[in-house]
């Protein structure tokens, strides 16, 4: 059952075309990994799906409903939640407050403060700490927890490993594994291809605003994705 449909989506930053006329479908329960070089358009795409960026053209449908013109805070009410690149916590507020304020304005559902702390036990001792004082890994956990508090049906994770030590990334992915088994639909932007292949059911590789490669994670291998990533199977010059 499709939960998200993107049709002919075009996004701009001023004069720059960041996403050009792409289309794809996400089915409920899928875990889709978005890979691609910097500037490929991944973050712009995620922000546009979440409603933080207005597309120049195209259509976004969530659960069969056209949400292209819907404001971001209303999409949260429908069940779309974005964990933005760079985490973007409310740094002046405590962890608990960050979580509570999301819980107050999101959808009602299973995710409560206690359940989030169960999924991210490293946050338990840090509940009253100022979010700006946490380590990178703890901030990432808080950011994901904050999105979960809105009880999303579609969770968008934008580069959760950015700036984190490998150990912290492991911890984040451990916490996410429970979530991923639980059936929430997830789109995750991930630079580390091995991790992306390990957790996802489908992969889309973006290049210069378009889709260079798409398919089930089981059917694609690292070589194919690498070639698509660098765009080396297009362009005029061939490598020796």
């Amino acid at each position: 059952m499709s939960i998200l449909e993107i049709e002919n989506l075009e996004c701009r930053h001023g004069l720059l075309i960041a996403v050009r006329g792409i289309g794809f479908t996400v089915n409920e329960g899928e875990i889709l990994a978005l890979v691609g070089a910097n500037g490929a358009g991944k973050t712009t795409l995620m922000r546009t799906i979440a409603g933080a960026h207005r597309p120049a053209a195209g259509r976004i449908s969530f659960d069969g409903k056209d949400v292209t013109a819907l404001k971001a805070h209303k999409r949260v009410g429908l069940g779309i939640a974005l964990v933005p690149e760079g985490r973007r916590l409310f740094t002046g507020m405590t962890v608990e407050e960050n979580l509570k304020v999301a819980g107050a304005h999101g959808r009602k559902g299973d995710w409560t403060l206690d359940k989030v702390l169960e999924a991210f036990p490293q946050l338990k001792p840090k509940l009253k700490a100022r979010a700006g004082d946490l380590s990178g890994g703890q901030q990432q956990a808080t950011a994901i927890g904050r999105a979960l508090m809105t009880n999303p049906r579609l969770l968008l994770l934008d580069e959760v490993s950015l700036g984190l030590s490998p150990l912290a990334v492991d911890q984040v992915y451990n916490s996410l594994s429970g979530l991923m088994r639980g059936g929430t639909t997830i789109i995750i932007v991930e630079q580390d291809l091995s991790r992306a292949l390990a957790v996802s059911t489908r992969i889309i590789c973006m290049l210069e605003g378009g889709i260079a490669l798409e398919g089930p994670a089981a059917a694609l291998d690292r070589e194919q994705i690498t070639a698509a990533y660098f765009g080396l199977n297009r362009g005029q010059k061939e490598l020796a």
């Binding site: 979440a50 409603g51 933080a52 404001k71 971001a72 805070h73 949260v76 009410g77 939640a81 974005l82 933005p84 973007r88 409310f90 740094t91 002046g92 507020m93 407050e97 960050n98 509570k100 304020v101 999301a102 107050a104 304005h105 999101g106 959808r107 904050r146 999105a147 508090m149 809105t150």
Partner: protein, 299 residues
């Protein structure tokens, strides 16, 4: 002894300044907007109350039940009509547009009410001049005491709301990062409108007390804006209790200046303001620490 009394009066005056400034401080703390129409809005409330009292012969305190909601509505409309659009144009544009609003307000009031000074004093009876004598040379005016108490209560209530209630959390989150707060389901424009409504309503309350303790005319907004601004700057931008402290420092400075020389009232206040501004700018230990706003609000 006279000197101590001047100090005491200065502290009480500080309560009025704090009440006058808290709307300005709150609006700036959350939205990073300096509302130059602040003083004019306070005077507007005073004029509205005056009309009410003239028409109904009721006390201005009763009139507040009508005027405060009206001021809240004015704030709501101001946010959507002026502030929201100004912010989209850039962080300094609200200064220009609120300056324009101030000019429009001042001149409209002048056209409507004329140049005469007005006062709400006649409508509050004994409160206007009653006082308690602590000693033979120390006294506390009843109205002044009421104003000071109101300032403390208002600031305390604001602080409590921000720190402990869900609404306060929402406001602080919106102040912290208005573009991200949309991602957790908060309609940031509505939050801003609520903040503007509260801020202008509080400004209206201050305007009521302005009318009661002194006289006012259509152009009284300018000096009021300056006192409010100086209070906020002395106390620290974005800090609510700092506003009380700033008001007291300003009030005490002015009164000490008045004791020294007949022209010293205003000058002493300005000198202290300037000194604090310079000290804050050049001293790292007294840095600006906006308490509940971190990122500039951009569309």
């Amino acid at each position: 002894m006279n000197f101590v009394n001047q100090l005491l009066q200065g502290v009480l005056l500080g309560g009025f300044y704090a009440l006058l400034a808290c709307g300005l401080s709150f609006l700036f703390g959350v939205m990073r907007i300096i509302n130059l129409a602040h003083g004019s809005l306070a005077v507007l409330a005073a004029f509205l109350l005056m009309e009410f009292c003239n028409d109904t012969n009721f006390s201005p305190f009763g009139g507040l039940l009508l005027v405060l909601p009206v001021m809240a509505l004015v704030g709501w409309v101001l946010q959507f009509a002026v502030l929201d659009r100004s912010l989209k144009a850039g962080p300094l544009i609200p200064i220009l547009s609120t300056f324009g609003v101030a000019i429009i307000l001042d001149n409209s009031m002048f056209e409507h009410y004329g140049a005469n000074s007005q006062s709400l004093g006649p409508f509050i009876g004994d409160l206007a001049y009653g006082s308690w004598n602590l000693t033979s040379s120390l006294y506390i005016g009843q109205l002044d005491a009421l104003i000071f108490a109101t300032a403390v209560v208002v600031l305390g209530a604001l602080q409590f709301t921000l720190a402990r209630t869900p609404l306060g959390r929402t406001i602080r989150a919106t102040a912290d990062d208005p573009s991200v707060v949309d991602l957790i389901g908060v309609n940031s424009r509505m939050v801003y409108a609520a903040v503007a409504a509260i801020a202008i309503m509080l400004t209206g309350l201050a305007g009521a007390f302005l009318g009661m303790r002194a006289s006012f005319d259509p152009y009284a907004g300018g000096p009021m804006l300056i006192f409010a601004f100086e209070t906020v700057v002395i106390g620290g931008l974005g800090s609510l209790w700092g506003t009380l402290l700033g008001g007291i420092v300003l009030g005490v400075s002015q009164n000490i200046g008045a004791a020294i020389s007949p022209h010293g009232f205003l000058i002493a206040g300005h000198v202290v303001f300037l000194a604090v501004l310079i000290a804050r700018t050049f001293s790292h230990r007294l840095t600006w620490r906006p308490r509940f706003s971190r990122k500039v609000a951009t569309a």
